[in-house]
C-alpha cells in the first residue's frame, strides 16, 4: 500500500473495468431494455474493448491513461454515454497531476462529475449516472476528512456509487431516454448509474490489489 496511485494503478483500473463491463454487458443491456433502448451494455463494452486495445501502446502517466480513455470512449461509444463518459474522463485527467493521492481521488471524481453535468445538464434525482457520481464524490470527501488514504477513499466512493445506483430504482427519470417513460420509469435501476458503480468499484479493486 502506498500513499499515491500511479500509472500502474490507472492501467489496472481500466483493464479491470474492461473485463467487468464485458461480464456485465447483458445485465446492463437488460437494465437499458427496461427503461431505454437496450444498448448500454453493448455501448460500454464496445468502448472499453477499444480502450483496452489502445492501452497496449502504453501511457506515460495517470493523466495519459485517462485522456486515452476519454478520447477512445468519445469516438467509439456513441449514444448518450459516449460523450458523457468521454467528458468525465477528460475532466478527470485535467483535474489531477501526476500520481494521485487522497485529494487527487476527490479531484478526479469531482472533475468527472463536473464534466458529466456540463454536457448532460442533469442534476441529482433525475435518474442518471449523476446519481452515482454525486454520492461517490460526497463519500470521497468525507473519507478524506477522516484522514483516509487514496485506496480507502476510492473504496468509499465506489460503495457510495453502488448505493447511489440502487437508489435510482424508485426515482422517475427526467433526463435521458428513460424520461420518455414518465412514471413507468419508476422501479428500475438506471443503467448509466450502474455502469458508474462498476467502474468505480474497479478503481478501488485495482488500488487494493496493487
Amino acid at each position: 500500500m502506498s500513499d499515491t496511485l500511479s500509472t500502474a494503478w490507472a492501467l489496472a483500473w481500466i483493464r479491470g473495468a474492461q473485463a467487468v463491463l464485458a461480464e456485465n454487458r447483458a445485465e446492463l443491456n437488460d437494465l437499458d431494455r427496461a427503461i431505454g433502448d437496450g444498448d448500454h451494455g453493448e455501448n460500454m463494452d464496445r468502448g472499453f474493448k477499444a480502450v483496452a486495445a489502445k492501452l497496449e501502446a502504453g501511457a506515460e502517466d495517470v493523466q495519459g491513461v485517462l485522456k486515452l480513455v476519454a478520447s477512445t470512449l468519445m469516438s467509439t461509444v456513441g449514444g448518450a454515454a459516449g460523450p458523457l463518459y468521454g467528458t468525465a474522463f477528460l475532466r478527470a485527467a485535467k483535474a489531477t497531476t501526476g500520481d494521485v493521492d487522497s485529494d487527487g481521488v476527490v479531484a478526479l471524481i469531482a472533475g468527472s462529475l463536473e464534466g458529466i453535468v456540463a454536457r448532460g445538464k442533469a442534476t441529482t434525482g433525475e435518474k442518471t449516472m449523476v446519481d452515482a457520481w454525486t454520492p461517490a464524490l460526497g463519500a470521497a470527501q468525507a473519507a478524506v476528512g477522516t484522514g483516509a488514504g487514496p485506496i480507502a477513499v476510492l473504496r468509499a466512493a465506489a460503495d457510495a456509487a453502488a448505493a447511489g445506483a440502487e437508489a435510482t430504482i424508485p426515482l422517475q427519470a427526467t433526463k435521458g431516454r428513460a424520461s420518455y417513460l414518465g412514471e413507468r420509469s419508476i422501479g428500475h435501476k438506471d443503467p448509466g448509474a450502474t455502469s458508474t458503480a462498476l467502474i468505480l468499484a474497479c478503481a478501488a479493486d485495482a488500488a487494493e490489489a496493487l
Binding site: 443491456n29 431494455r33 427503461i35 431505454g36 433502448d37 437496450g38 444498448d39 453493448e42 455501448n43 464496445r46 468519445m74 469516438s75 467509439t76 461509444v77 456513441g78 449514444g79 448518450a80 454515454a81 459516449g82 460523450p83 458523457l84 454536457r119 448532460g120 427526467t174 433526463k175 435521458g176 431516454r177 424520461s179 420518455y180 417513460l181 414518465g182 413507468r184
Partner: protein
C-alpha cells in the same frame, strides 16, 4: 431471432457495402469512419445538410442523401447515436463554403455527439448550425424532461430544408425553413410488436399478444402507455387526437398528412390508417393537400405506424414539391 444477417457486429458495415454498390450513381459511402455523401459533394456555394443517428431506421438517413435533400448521412450502430468523428468528417466532406446544417433528432445521445462534432468543425473553420427535431407529441415537453423526441417529422424537415438549400438559400435561410417545419410538425406512433436489435438478440420490450404500445418511439424504447389491441380506426384516433390537441391548427389550414410504417407493417394497413386519419383531419376542417404513405423512418422490423401532420403554407408546399433525387425518395426528376 431470425434475421438476414451474418455477424451482428457487422450489420451496419455490410448494409453500407450493399447500399454503396446499389446506389453508386447517387452516393459515395465512406467507411471508417462511416458516412454517406452525395456523389457530387461538396456542392460549391450550397449549404450542406448533414443528418444522422442510430441505424435501424432505414431508409432514414442514408436513403435521403442526394440532390434536393441531404448532402450527408452519418449512421451509428443500430439505435445508437454516431460518435463525433464521422459527423465531423461528413461535415467537412459536404462543406461547399456556405456552411453546414446539422439536422438532429432530439435524443440526448444525438444532441451531445452532434454538439461535439459541431465544436470540432468550428475549430476547423466551418460554420455549423444545428436544428433539433422534436415532433413526437407522445412525450411531455417541459423543462423537467429531455423534451419531445424527434421522429417521423425528421423526414419532412430533411426534404423541405434540403429543397431550400438546393434553391440557394443561405445558412440562416435554410435554418429558418427547417425551424418553421419543426414548429409546425407533430407526430405520434404506435407499436403492435417490439423489434429486436441484432446484437441484443431479444426484443427491446415485451408486449403481450393482445397489447399494443401507444406513443412508441423509433428506438425500440417503450411508449407512453399500453392498451388492448383495438380496431385500426380507434388506434388512429389515439394518434390523431394528441396531434390535433398539440398543434391546434386553424380550420381551413392546409396540411400534409404522413402515415409512416415502422418497418414490419404491410403497406395496405398504412392506407387503412391513412384513410381514417384523413377523415379525422377533414372533419376538423383541415385541407389535406399533400400526402405521404410508406416506410420512411422505421424501427427495424417493428409492426406499427406513426401519423404526422405538417401545417403547410405556400412556401413549404413549393419546397415539398421541389425535385429530389435520392435512393429512397424521388420526385420530379
Amino acid at each position: 431471432m431470425k434475421k438476414l444477417i451474418n455477424d451482428p457486429a457487422n450489420v451496419v458495415a455490410e448494409t453500407l457495402a450493399g447500399f454503396a454498390a446499389a446506389h453508386a450513381d447517387l452516393v459515395t459511402v465512406h467507411t471508417d469512419p462511416d458516412y454517406v455523401v452525395r456523389a457530387d459533394a461538396p456542392v460549391q456555394g450550397k449549404v450542406g445538410l448533414v443528418s444522422g443517428g442510430g441505424s435501424g431506421h432505414e431508409p432514414l438517413h442514408a436513403g435521403y442523401v442526394g440532390m434536393g435533400m441531404l448532402d450527408a448521412a452519418v449512421p451509428g450502430a443500430v439505435f445508437t447515436s454516431p460518435t463525433p468523428d464521422p459527423i465531423l468528417e461528413a461535415t467537412k466532406a459536404v462543406d461547399g463554403g456556405a456552411g453546414v446544417l446539422h439536422i438532429v433528432k432530439n435524443y440526448t445521445g444525438d444532441v451531445l455527439n452532434f454538439e461535439t462534432a459541431a465544436e470540432l468543425a468550428d475549430m476547423e473553420g466551418i460554420t455549423v448550425k444545428a436544428v433539433i427535431v422534436n415532433d413526437d407529441v407522445a412525450v411531455e415537453d417541459s423543462t423537467w424532461t429531455a423534451g419531445r423526441r424527434g421522429v417521423a417529422g425528421t423526414v419532412l424537415v430533411e426534404k423541405i430544408a434540403g429543397a431550400a438549400a438546393q434553391r440557394g438559400d443561405d445558412l440562416d435561410g435554410v435554418v429558418a425553413v427547417a425551424e418553421k417545419v419543426i414548429a409546425q410538425v407533430r407526430s405520434m406512433g404506435v407499436a403492435l410488436t417490439a423489434c429486436t436489435v441484432p446484437h441484443a438478440g431479444k426484443p427491446s420490450f415485451d408486449l403481450a399478444e393482445d397489447e399494443i404500445e401507444i406513443g412508441i418511439g423509433i428506438h425500440g424504447e417503450p411508449g407512453r402507455h399500453r392498451i388492448p389491441m383495438a380496431p385500426a380506426d380507434s388506434i388512429t384516433d389515439q394518434l390523431v387526437d394528441p396531434i390535433l390537441a398539440d398543434l391546434k391548427p386553424a380550420a381551413g389550414s392546409k396540411v400534409l398528412l404522413f402515415v409512416n410504417g415502422m418497418g414490419g407493417t404491410p403497406e395496405a394497413e398504412l392506407y387503412i390508417v391513412y384513410a381514417h386519419a384523413r377523415q379525422r383531419l377533414e372533419a376538423a376542417g383541415l385541407d389535406v393537400t399533400r400526402s405521404l404513405v410508406g416506410n420512411y423512418i422505421t424501427s427495424l422490423e417493428m409492426q406499427g405506424c406513426s401519423v404526422t401532420v405538417l401545417l403547410l403554407d405556400d412556401e413549404l408546399t413549393d419546397l415539398w414539391d421541389a425535385p429530389v433525387l435520392t435512393p429512397a425518395f424521388r420526385r420530379g426528376v
